[in-house]
Symmetry: D2
Subunit: 456 residues, 4 copies
Amino acid sequence: MIYQDNKVTDLKIAFIGGGSRGWAWTLMNDLARAEDMAGTVYLYDIDRQASQNNAVIGNNFPGENWRYVAAADPAGAMTGADFVIVSILPGTFDEMESDVHAPEAFGIYQSVGDTAGPGGFVRALRTVPMMREIAANVRRYCPGAYVINYTNPMAVCIGALYREFPEIKAYGCCHEVFGTQQLLSHALEEMEGIADVPRQQMNVNVVGVNHFTWFTSAYYQGFDMFEVYRRFVDKYYESGYNRKGTGNWLNDFFATDARVRMDLFRRFGYIAAAGDRHLAEFMDFSDYLYDCRDWAFGLTPVSWRRENLQKRLDKSARLLSGEEVWAMRDTGEEGTLQMRALLGLSTMVTNINVPNKGQITNLPYGTVVETNAAFTRNSLAPVLAGEVPASIYPMIARAAAENDAMLDAAFSLDLSYAREKFAALNLIKTLTRAQKDALFDTMVKNTEKYLGMYRK
Amino acid sequence: MIYQDNKVTDLKIAFIGGGSRGWAWTLMNDLARAEDMAGTVYLYDIDRQASQNNAVIGNNFPGENWRYVAAADPAGAMTGADFVIVSILPGTFDEMESDVHAPEAFGIYQSVGDTAGPGGFVRALRTVPMMREIAANVRRYCPGAYVINYTNPMAVCIGALYREFPEIKAYGCCHEVFGTQQLLSHALEEMEGIADVPRQQMNVNVVGVNHFTWFTSAYYQGFDMFEVYRRFVDKYYESGYNRKGTGNWLNDFFATDARVRMDLFRRFGYIAAAGDRHLAEFMDFSDYLYDCRDWAFGLTPVSWRRENLQKRLDKSARLLSGEEVWAMRDTGEEGTLQMRALLGLSTMVTNINVPNKGQITNLPYGTVVETNAAFTRNSLAPVLAGEVPASIYPMIARAAAENDAMLDAAFSLDLSYAREKFAALNLIKTLTRAQKDALFDTMVKNTEKYLGMYRK
Amino acid sequence: MIYQDNKVTDLKIAFIGGGSRGWAWTLMNDLARAEDMAGTVYLYDIDRQASQNNAVIGNNFPGENWRYVAAADPAGAMTGADFVIVSILPGTFDEMESDVHAPEAFGIYQSVGDTAGPGGFVRALRTVPMMREIAANVRRYCPGAYVINYTNPMAVCIGALYREFPEIKAYGCCHEVFGTQQLLSHALEEMEGIADVPRQQMNVNVVGVNHFTWFTSAYYQGFDMFEVYRRFVDKYYESGYNRKGTGNWLNDFFATDARVRMDLFRRFGYIAAAGDRHLAEFMDFSDYLYDCRDWAFGLTPVSWRRENLQKRLDKSARLLSGEEVWAMRDTGEEGTLQMRALLGLSTMVTNINVPNKGQITNLPYGTVVETNAAFTRNSLAPVLAGEVPASIYPMIARAAAENDAMLDAAFSLDLSYAREKFAALNLIKTLTRAQKDALFDTMVKNTEKYLGMYRK
Amino acid sequence: MIYQDNKVTDLKIAFIGGGSRGWAWTLMNDLARAEDMAGTVYLYDIDRQASQNNAVIGNNFPGENWRYVAAADPAGAMTGADFVIVSILPGTFDEMESDVHAPEAFGIYQSVGDTAGPGGFVRALRTVPMMREIAANVRRYCPGAYVINYTNPMAVCIGALYREFPEIKAYGCCHEVFGTQQLLSHALEEMEGIADVPRQQMNVNVVGVNHFTWFTSAYYQGFDMFEVYRRFVDKYYESGYNRKGTGNWLNDFFATDARVRMDLFRRFGYIAAAGDRHLAEFMDFSDYLYDCRDWAFGLTPVSWRRENLQKRLDKSARLLSGEEVWAMRDTGEEGTLQMRALLGLSTMVTNINVPNKGQITNLPYGTVVETNAAFTRNSLAPVLAGEVPASIYPMIARAAAENDAMLDAAFSLDLSYAREKFAALNLIKTLTRAQKDALFDTMVKNTEKYLGMYRK
């Protein structure tokens, strides 16, 4: 890369999963708007055609700063890269269908099924070997690159990257916290009449594990947002809070009524900082503590995802043909801003997922946690976020331990060992051991195309 | 305080040591330039007349945002304060004369004598009881205030504040790191022809204890400043680097030729981030490893400080009478910027002194260290700065241990215990025990006016 | 001290609180049975007559190894001591009466009132200044001595010793864990027919804070005692377990039916390792979760203690006059065994209370915890006891935080600050703030004779 | 296993490397003398004949308690094992010849070549995959077994076991510390005339990494052994200390004159607790700081090992035929004692190698360290050994970092990455990069038979 006049040119970005019809376009959008960076994005995808299509689409974006190239293999994409972006779908919707819906036969309903519980577990078994290969390629082709992961299960993926290549400079980026800052901004408007405060100005201390993060403090200028949120919850606890049609977050929290997180605030005294659909999976959801019908949040069926994919494929075809022109927007994502800071063009403090090295003092060393970090030139330093408060500690410690168990299971490449870890998952604790084993064997069978490296 | 239109008014700042002819004016200068803050500064000083004079001087500064009041007692200054600034002289120049020069009779020369060695030790004995009283007053009158300390010995003062009141929100602010960033900026100009890079854009990782801090990495945009600095040192190692007349730092590093710190870089591989006068006191200075004549840095005699004080008193008189008008300037200090960030008006990452809670992984928990921290609304979160590198570990670990010994000695209020700790100081290791005791007893006798609370 | 033939003679032990009619005699008993140690015990007590009486009684114990002397002042007892034993009553039964019974007027019943809750808090206010004075004397008269404390509130007392003199070699010794090992031995007899297993052979991992310690594992040879205990609890859960008349523990757990701790095992999955009376005070006792009538454990009224003291005074008179001869026995206490190990005459692993330096990974650094430690010559090294399990973490973290709050309050010597900390106690959370303040002021007033050093 | 009458029968021990002509016989000797244990030892070795021979030899040992069986495969040896003993030779003497002597062509002499430096590095590349396979088998066949490793490089082997199977209950056992305790016992005899003190009674605090361990304190009853050792070193510093013919340690320190470790004591103030041959490899040996001729310790050529093996093979034949009867002895090894303690038949405190979880506060979490640990039933709890002292910190931190680099290199299964790590080894720092690469490539080529799983 070349620095000149406070601008960096000749940057090299490798995008693994570069055929995606979503994140890839978001990145193209954001790069096109970043005036002080320029370079080449190498799109790599096992679906070569998809990455080739995206290269065309990318090169159609406005501006001259960025060129998009479909790489034939990981070496082609990653050799000498400054940044590696990872956003892959581990398997197809067929496998995801099994993750989410196979447990339903045993009475286990998951609202998302990509992070925790049986769905998250089996997805981890598929994903970890992919992540290890990516980490091995980083070690070989671009050991000094920053690696930004968007793939779920986030914490397990980050753990896999570091366990494979301990020196990797990887972190995970997730927008659930952003959505919660946005909710606080809405609460401020509702309760105090102060509108349109950018969510970044909600100063929060973040602790937890991905999709089960919490704010232990939140301030906006003179307001203690815990006090504002308390009144907001009092007002909307029964009815739910549903502000239709304004969101531009991919996992829009408006799809729920925020009733789960309002309830969690009352029970535990801290602000749960993820959407209801994610939060519910860390609670005793299988015991129907948070039955989706009562608590007004949607389970996301894979059939919806299939339909949605079709829409995105159609959009891809239109963008490719030029029938549709991408509408530039504020995506709300931070990846490009983080790259700017890591290049020394700015300083920022935001939340990320990396292994715990003391940023959360009462969670185990090494487990992947989500906290704030300071981004400066060539440095990503987590801040000391302190302790997980006692009231929420048992749930977060359990979630962290389950992430580590998934990681151990996937690294063992041994299904008999994985079955033991699976059986200990909290979300299926109501099942008998025979049921647990039957569920595991079914889900493994359903997804065996991606599990060939495991010893039976 | 009141927030309105992204401005905070009705702030209350207590300035302990508010009669100073230096820091107080710097603060007035910086506050006058901070357009989004307004309020009252309560100046408290044991020299009541000095604080009254400063109140007049302060109210003569340009702008309408700030009012200055001389408080009659600590309660008057601190009750309900949002910030407490501490910048006191512990004793008079008579005591400082003893600190710095009494050891010379034993062949121990100190370049500053306010931080380490026998001078730092006895100064700590005087200062800690004052800091405890300040902390007790914070606990009573404004327990939620941020406390910014500028008094030396910095690490011991911060330790005293926290040991007296563990919940205190205090930190220490020192500009030695800033000066070293400035030196890197000059090195960039010298070696690469890139001039006038603001020192804040030198992104550094800071580890160590105050006045003996080190950079373990340093970047400016595309430059690895370690590589630039290596060439710079090669060029100036023999001659020294002396760039006269441009600095506005109180402890101007230009007063030295930076030869000590260039030598330390060659010996240990990391960038020592304080002025030569401070650094030398942490080495085996008493063994003349860094004799001031050979290494081209000045010992600072107290006689100079007396002369300088007279100049500042004269200036004070002129400012008071209106004969002289303060020339507004860029002071290079960060205190006001830090307050803005703690008020939620910005975000910043800079270096501070606070007790170690894991920010430096291989120094003891609780000892006061200097690292970067993220400042946001109502939060000052140190970043994980990692390990002290092995090559410089023994020196830094020793310095931290001596700071803790000073703190233990001062909290014991027992001179016989303090004498044992004094005898273990590295800087006097060439003396016999009898000489050490004689030196201690002499220095205690010289400063007994301020040590009345100690058991003999 | 002198070592010869694997025996240590000329030992010097200082006993602070040496006039006691209980612990002092236990120590005399145990020392008389320790054949490889000899020396002098210096008894110091503010009740000089009591220590003089005990010197006579001590010298009447069988054997020639030990001599007992009543010291006139702390210097006389402690100068050059090898060990310092601390067992004091902070105040009289009048103060204890207030500690235990004053809260009853507000509906707050405490079973012991010396550790947690309002009684523990105010007792801490009295005790900490005494402990600081003891620590200051250790620093002055015998800085290398091992200090063994038996005084309650244990954790706060140990914390005070270390905060006053950070280099002190102090630890706290409590027999509640021993009693629980004994209960496991009984459970083994009840469920497996294996009788008379010495409690020391129950290998347990201990985590927690004093009087709220837990076993996270327990083994006896081939038995996983968690499995045995589970069956034992199943058998006795409803009826309680009451094995009359066999105990020789001062705080005999047989006085209860062990119903609280059996219930805790069922709720949380770990073995609570203290008597029901202590455990109940850490739960929501004030909410009557464990009402003493339902749960079959006794509240201990101070009137009983007064009667009991009279019996002990009578016994003291008889021992003094020679009317009664002390019956040598196995006291079950470990103090003498620990001294032997610290002298290098044996090695032992047992549970102690010291500040946390990593032995419990998820409790704060510095808070006083109870875990196992290895005792060898001149070394007392806590073992890594791991994490507090998630299910019991919130309760233990809260207990540790309340201990630290008591310590902060007592070190502040400021009643207005102490009142804030008092108001946050879990055991009085059902009271209004006005009631809390009224209770605090009443209890302070009741015990003001011992609180003269506090600022109002 | 079955417990009865304080004896454990039906134990199952798997011995990996069970064909050895050394450790296997030591174990047989010690088991035959352990009267309270009985069971079966399953000997597994890739040299099937050797393990079959040892089964015969083992069954000829006196006593009825133990039966020896040669297992056909790991599953046969390990299924359901209570203990797994690992003592393997990674490769043959041909590979060891390369490890030790190939660097000599570049002027790099290694006294042992199995732990640090180029020899240790390449040996690690061979050994780690074997250790991973063992750990995978433990996970599959006996996940609850205790695993005792004797294979070098010790720290890397233990690290590999834990990285492959994080829940493994493994530790490394090494007798270098024992030998140093023995040296202290001799020093006591030499300086104080007290003979025959068992080495176990030298109470020491152990910190460091295997083969580079140090004592930070050492006591025998009333003696501070640092003071005794200081005088001992003064007496023997020039001449060396050589007490011929009495040792029964495999790595007999008498083969040296202890001059290296006496010199280290003078330089750094702490007692180096390994033989000179090992210690020298961690210093700047390649710079001839400790040239073997000047410092009177032997380099161990592989030719000697070949001769010695022949002697052991001869002895094996004689034991097998019954021509020779094993002479029972006190081996000085602790493995059997540790097993007894882990079975609950005793308690012991001794030194072991396990990953750092806080037992050494200033070394990285996770790196394998050597400290004391408490052994009780089903528990092996490291004690808090504190900090590595500042004077020796740089050397120990470097050694630990090199161990971790070897582990990372071996886990990468990527020779190009390994080459980078190899080039950073301290012991070859005098070579050019080209020389380093040539040496690496040569050593890899020499041992390629065992490195087939590595990517080129």
